[in-house]
Amino acid sequence: MTQKILLVEDDTTTADFIVKGLSEQGFAVDHANNGRDGLFHATDGTYDAIVLDRMLPGMDGMAVLGAIRAAGITTPVIILSALGAVEDRVAGLTAGSDDYLTKPFAFAELHARLKLLMRRATAGPASAVETVLTCHDLEMDLLSRKVKRGGRTLDLQPREFRLLEYLMRHKEQVVTRTMLLEGVWDYHFDPGTNVIDVHVSRLRKKIDGESDPPLIHTVRGAGYRLGASE
């Protein structure tokens, strides 16, 4: 089934860019160029996710979000905003958004986060009780904190363990560097792109160094993906 996404964005160039990108990825996208129309569409409740610009003519994005949540609609919402400070992020998340993306952003980042949100929304809370995560011949026991690849135990640092855990919980999905920084280190600042790359490349050496097929893939211009397929 095609997933439907509502985009509320007043800047035509940005909107075209997002609509084109999401359509290419196989989503059905509806676009509203102001807050009132956006709210009107959102109350249909038939969307899988909503991408909401924060600064909109007519009705502010935060107000739209408040109205959506007040109407009892639980559709995942990603806020797009030029205001990138932690304070603004916190304000957005408290108002009921599920994620917050600072402009300018890479399309891959938006795509990865949308996929994550929609998967989370459909999977429900059941995934929380998993104690063993697997991917191909890689196995992670969350209780004994042991990681094995093809029966061979891997020696991971605590932080490498958490990094791998994040990748395994989102296997076959693209995770971006900022998603890793937020998910594993709980930081929202930009430490320079290299920092995360070095961590991943160390982890990759331990996971894929002596085994085939490689499980950690670099996705050009986006981030990383854990999975057996190329």
Partner: protein, 456 residues
């Protein structure tokens, strides 16, 4: 002219003058009333005493003895001009020194004009009239003409004093206004100079610590802060303009070259490089925004109490692989504690920037340490590079920005400016020291509550 009377100077003068006028008039009036009352009471007492002495004498011993004593009392009269008159029921004089019983005079105290024996002019006198049991009437009292004159002299004297006092009051009012105006003018001159761009102008202090001095000191502190903010802002914007120019120039050059390229590989390469330049530019803009927000005190309400040692160890751990990849060794001396209220993201970013800086200009190894010292929590990042000569540290610290034009790290100046801004946001400081060899940067923040007012 109308405008002058509306001014606070005119109003102040009028007020001071008015108050002094009311005060002088009040004093004169009080003095006059009190003098009058005292003189009258004295005359009444005297008349009462006389009546008390003479009336029983007349009733007991008859008019002859009365006449003798009355004559005696008129002669020896305590320095007063005494008047006594005894008259029968019809008003015919029996004894005394008045020419006749005045018509229509009632019992009690009155002040009237009467003739003394042998006098051709009437005199003002205060008299007490008493009706005796046998129908005769007794009048006692004294001439009060002199008292009146005295009281008139007092009136005139105070009036004269008042007239001389008026210009004095006016002068005092003007002087007071002038003194106040001089201080206010001084402040307004300074404000005008600052508005005109002379940011280093300060209000003159006389050192007395009075209200004006305190106002001036407060204003000076405000001007100090404004000047610091503006010069910081200028450094940041200058630095930004400088730092933005090179990546923008490269970006433009690459795009121009790409326009004439044919093969796909070099086009793709040009696009990738342009993307990287754009990322760099965006990063610098983000930093500049963070600096201006931190300098404005935005984010203080997002301070959370966190374990500084653990947090910095965390940051160090985040950077460790990168540091090792660059061929450096890293020593981390961050014991757990203390718990400090801070902006976690900004402190993290600041320490990250310091590590980046150490990687750029240091050599072989770097050291990250935390600790406490005299009410402050500190974070130290030291490198083993060339360091900064002691005489250049003040300059380096003042700008905490680009130190040497030949240092060509992208936005390195901005990164350090952000560290300075983050320290100030926390009410803390940056110190540069010698790591022997190398540079030691210490960021100190208060252990207690950060300043609550953004503009403190």
């Amino acid at each position: 002219m109308l405008k002058f009377w509306r001014s606070s100077t005119a109003r102040f003068i009028t007020l001071v003058f008015g108050i002094e006028l009311i005060l002088a008039a009040g004093m004169t009036l009080t003095l006059r009333t009190l003098t009058r009352a005292e003189l009258t009471r004295d005359a009444q007492n005297y008349a009462g005493r006389l009546t008390g002495e003479l009336a029983p004498l007349y009733l007991r011993q008859g008019p002859e003895d009365f006449r003798k004593l009355a004559a005696l009392r008129v002669l020896f009269s305590e320095g007063r001009a005494t008047v006594i008159l005894l008259a029968d029921a019809k008003g015919k004089p029996i004894a005394g020194n008045l020419q006749g019983w005045p018509a229509g005079l009632n019992a009690g105290w009155s002040e009237i004009e009467l003739y003394r024996n042998g006098s051709a002019t009437p005199e003002q006198m205060g008299v007490l009239v008493t009706r005796l049991p046998d129908g005769t009437r007794l009048l006692t009292g004294q001439i009060i003409e002199n008292d009146r004159r005295l009281s008139r002299i007092v009136d005139r004297a105070t009036g004269t004093a008042l007239i001389f006092g008026l210009p004095l009051a006016l002068f005092a009012a003007f002087a007071a206004v002038r003194i106040i105006n001089a201080r206010v003018n001084d402040i307004s001159e300074t404000a005008r100079a600052v508005s005109a761009g002379q940011l280093s102008q300060r209000v003159w202090l006389d050192g007395s610590g009075d209200t004006f001095d305190r106002l001036a000191a407060t204003l000076n502190a405000m001007l100090e802060r404004i000047e610091a903010l503006i010069s910081e802002l200028r450094i940041v914007t200058d630095g930004l303009a400088h730092d933005l120019r090179s990546p923008l120039t490269r970006l433009k050059a690459r795009l121009e070259r790409a326009q004439v390229e044919d093969d796909e590989a070099s086009l793709r390469n040009a696009i990738t490089l342009a993307g990287e330049e754009t990322d760099r530019l965006l990063g610098m803009l983000t930093t500049a925004l963070q600096i201006s927000r931190a300098e404005a005190g935005i984010g203080r309400d997002h301070f959370v109490a966190a374990d500084l040692g653990e947090m910095i160890a965390d940051i160090a751990e985040l950077y460790e692989p990168l540091v090792e990849d660059r061929g450096f060794t890293m020593e981390v001396a961050c014991p757990s504690g203390p718990i400090v209220p801070m902006h976690r993201e900004l402190i993290g970013q600041a320490v990250g920037n310091l590590i980046d800086n150490a990687l750029k200009y240091g050599a072989q190894s770097l050291r990250i340490a935390t600790g406490t010292d005299a009410g402050l929590a500190w974070i130290e990042v030291s490198d083993r590079g060339a360091g900064i000569p002691e005489d250049q540290r003040a300059e380096a610290l003042r700008r905490f920005g680009r130190l040497d034009p030949s240092r060509t790290g992208f936005g390195a100046g901005l990164g350090l400016s952000l560290v300075g801004a983050v320290a100030r946001l926390h009410g803390g400081t940056i110190e540069l020291g010698d790591a022997a060899p190398g540079l030691k940067v210490r960021l100190s923040i208060p252990l207690g509550q950060p300043p609550t007012s953004p503009r403190a």
